[in-house]
Every structure is written in C-alpha cells, then in structure tokens.
C-alpha cells in the first residue's frame, strides 16, 4: 500500500503526469465502455439484464436533462450520462483493494469541473450571444464582481467537494484497516458500505450541479 498523499509521477515530453491516476482513469474508462457495450450488445425491445440497468440510468438522466435544460439541451445528454457513469465507477474503483479512485486526485476533479465550466461558457455565448455576457452585469453593473467570484467558485467547489469526499473515504479505509485488528472487520465493512453510498451521492451531486450550471447557459431565459 502506497503512502498517503505521495504520488508516483512520470515525465513525458517535459510534462509531469500522475501515473496512478492515469492508469486508474483508463481502467475506469474501460469499465464504463464495457458496461455500455454489454448493455447495447444485443438490444431488445423488451429489455433484460445489463440493458435494463443502463436503460434506466439513461432514461433517468435524460429526464433530468430535459427538466433542467429543456428540449434545447437534448444534445448534452450523452455528456451527462458519461459524466455520471464515469464518476460513479471512479468513486467505487477506489474501494477495490489495490485500486485507487481517479477522483482522489484533484487533477481529475478540477479537470472535469473546469471542462464543465468551459462548456457552460462556450455554450452560453454560442446559444445566447451578448445576452449571456450581459447577464453577468445584472441587476446592476457592479454585480459583475460578485458574479465573477461566483463563476470562479463554481469549478473550485465542484472539484474540491468530490476530491475531498473520495480522498477522505480512501484515507479512512486505510486508517481503519491499520487501527482495527483483522478479526474485527465490522468498522471497515460499515465504512465501505458508507463509501459506496457516498460515491453514488457525490457522483450525482457533481452531475446535478453541472446540469444546473448548464441550465444557466442553455435554457431559454424567461425574462
């Protein structure tokens, strides 16, 4: 077991990469794609097995997108579905012995959060044009300062929330295993179960907040 907080790095083209995070991300991607492949391998009108699970997920997230973004946001559903699946698998991967969550690295969470915020702003300007920029100066021009702070806070809160939850969960698993003797597995098991729950909840929170931010940019304004 590696030491907490110390990351193995590799140098490539003069850039530093966290090797473990990258590997775990690729494993997560492989799992997500495998699930998608299994679910859609033999699609039937009357669903069974894996198709059922992924279908429920897609239908549910599609509804969320629809409620938040309206029909104009339908093209973003694949992004949201992928985000949720990726985060759930990432969060749960760290609970498997010898594995780590890609989301226990701030690089992952901040990267995703920045990507989301970037998509929000690009879509906002693309779909609403000047109107989108104007809304930062509402209700009066000086509010631009507060709005700017909010916009900066968005990716930071989004990324640190997820990172903190998953990192803390994994640290506590290691600590519990060291503190409690092996014949007394109940605390670890309880914490594992709780971590599974937290992993799902955090993935959902990240996805929902991303949706809410996207709604700001995509949904037709009512004023």
């Amino acid at each position: 077991m590696h030491e907490i907080g110390v990351r193995e790095t590799v140098q490539f083209a003069g850039l530093t990469f966290n090797w473990e995070t990258l590997v775990m991300t690729w494993i997560t991607m492989a799992i997500v794609i495998a699930i998608g492949f299994l679910a859609s391998r033999s699609l039937k009108l009357v669903p069974t097995g894996a198709q059922n699970v992924v279908e429920i997920l897609i239908v549910w997230l599609r509804e969320q997108v629809h409620n938040n973004l309206g029909t104009r946001g339908d093209f973003l559903t694949p992004l949201i579905v992928t985000l949720f699946l990726f985060l759930v698998i990432s969060n749960w991967l760290g609970l498997v012995p010898q594995m780590a969550s890609p989301t226990n690295d701030l690089n992952t969470t901040l990267g995703l959060a920045l990507l989301m915020v970037l998509i929000v702003h690009v879509l906002g300007i693309y779909m609403k044009g000047m109107h989108y920029i104007q809304h930062f100066f509402k209700p009066v021009a000086p509010f631009v300062v507060i709005n700017a702070i909010e916009e900066v806070a968005k990716p930071i809160t989004l990324s640190f929330r997820l990172f903190g939850n998953i990192m803390a969960g994994e640290i506590l698993i290691i600590i519990l295993l060291k503190l409690v003797p092996i014949w007394m597995p109940i605390p670890s098991v309880v914490w594992l179960a709780f971590s599974i729950f937290i992993g799902g909840v955090q993935a959902f929170i990240f996805t929902s907040l991303s949706l809410a931010y996207l709604a700001n940019a995509v949904k037709e304004s009512e004023d």
């Binding site: 992924v54 599609r62 992928t82 990507l115």
Partner: protein, 167 residues
C-alpha cells in the same frame, strides 16, 4: 497531496474521449431503441383502441341483428297463429252451414215425400171407399150424390186421421 500538473489536461482529454466513445457504443443505439419502443407501444395502444372500438361496433351490430331477428320470429309466429285461428273458424263456419243445408234438404225431402204419400193415400181411399159403398148400398143412389157423400167422408177422415200419420 494537492499538486496540479499536466494530469489535469490529460484527464480532460480522457473524459472527452470517453464521452465520444460511449456516445457511439451505448448512447446512440440505446436511445434509438428507446424511441423504437416508444413508437411500438404507442402503435400497440392505438391498435388496441381501434380493435376495441371495432369489437364494440361488431357487438352492437350483432345485438341489433339479434333483436330484429327476435322481432321477426315473433311476427312470424303471430301471423301463423292468426292464420291457424282464421282457418279454424272458417272451417267451423263451413261445417255449420253444411249441416244447416243438409238439414234443410232433409226437411224438404221429408215434406215432399209426406205430401206424395198423402196424395197417394187420398186417391186410393176414394177408390176403396167407392167400392165399399157400392157393395154396401148397392142401389138407389145416383152417382153424384154418392160422390158428394164420400168426398165429405174422406175430408173428415183427412182431418182426423191423416194428420197423425207417423212418417
């Protein structure tokens, strides 16, 4: 623990790749299938509605046909009964009149035969009486007086006896 490096950009790219791949592998086919299913269910419901309406129409038709058939049957039965009744009474009437006719004919014949018999008897009586009177009186009476006497006698006989003749 919190060291931001090039991994951040790599993760962004990783995620974007995942979005593209998952969209191709799973999202598109599943959504297509969902749409197909929706259409199929809508079609099934529509068809079920149409079938039900048709079934109801057929049932209504059958009921109407059954009712009219029943009315027709009743009508036919009524007619048949009426005809039978009419025939029956007509026959009775006919029989009655036939009996009456036969009775009348019989009475007429009786009357005719009776008067014939009376006539016969009368003429025979005259002859017999003449013979009897000739034998008894034998003389002194002219023929005219005799005949008057005998005629009177026969007339009396007629009144008293012939009317009671059994016939």
């Amino acid at each position: 623990m919190i060291d931001i490096n090039a991994t951040l950009v790599a993760q962004m790219l990783n995620f974007l790749i995942l979005v593209v791949v998952l969209r191709l592998v799973a999202y598109k086919p599943i959504v297509k299938m969902l749409k197909e299913r929706e259409e199929r269910i809508a079609g099934s419901i529509e068809k079920a509605d149409a079938d039900m309406a048709e079934a109801e129409a057929v049932l209504k038709d059958y009921k109407a046909q059954l009712a009219s058939a029943r009315v027709k049957a009743q009508d036919i039965m009524d007619k048949a009964e009426k005809r039978a009744q009419d025939e029956h009474s007509a026959k009775i009437q006919e029989t009655h009149s036939e009996i009456k006719q036969m009775k009348e004919a019989a009475q007429q014949q009786i009357q005719r035969e009776r008067s014939q018999a009376v006539e016969q008897l009368k003429s025979q009586m005259v002859v017999l009486s003449m013979a009897a009177a000739q034998k008894i009186v034998s003389k002194n009476m002219d023929a005219a007086e005799n005949e008057a006497l005998i005629g009177e006698f026969i007339d009396q006989l007629d009144k008293d006896k012939i009317g009671d003749l059994p016939c």
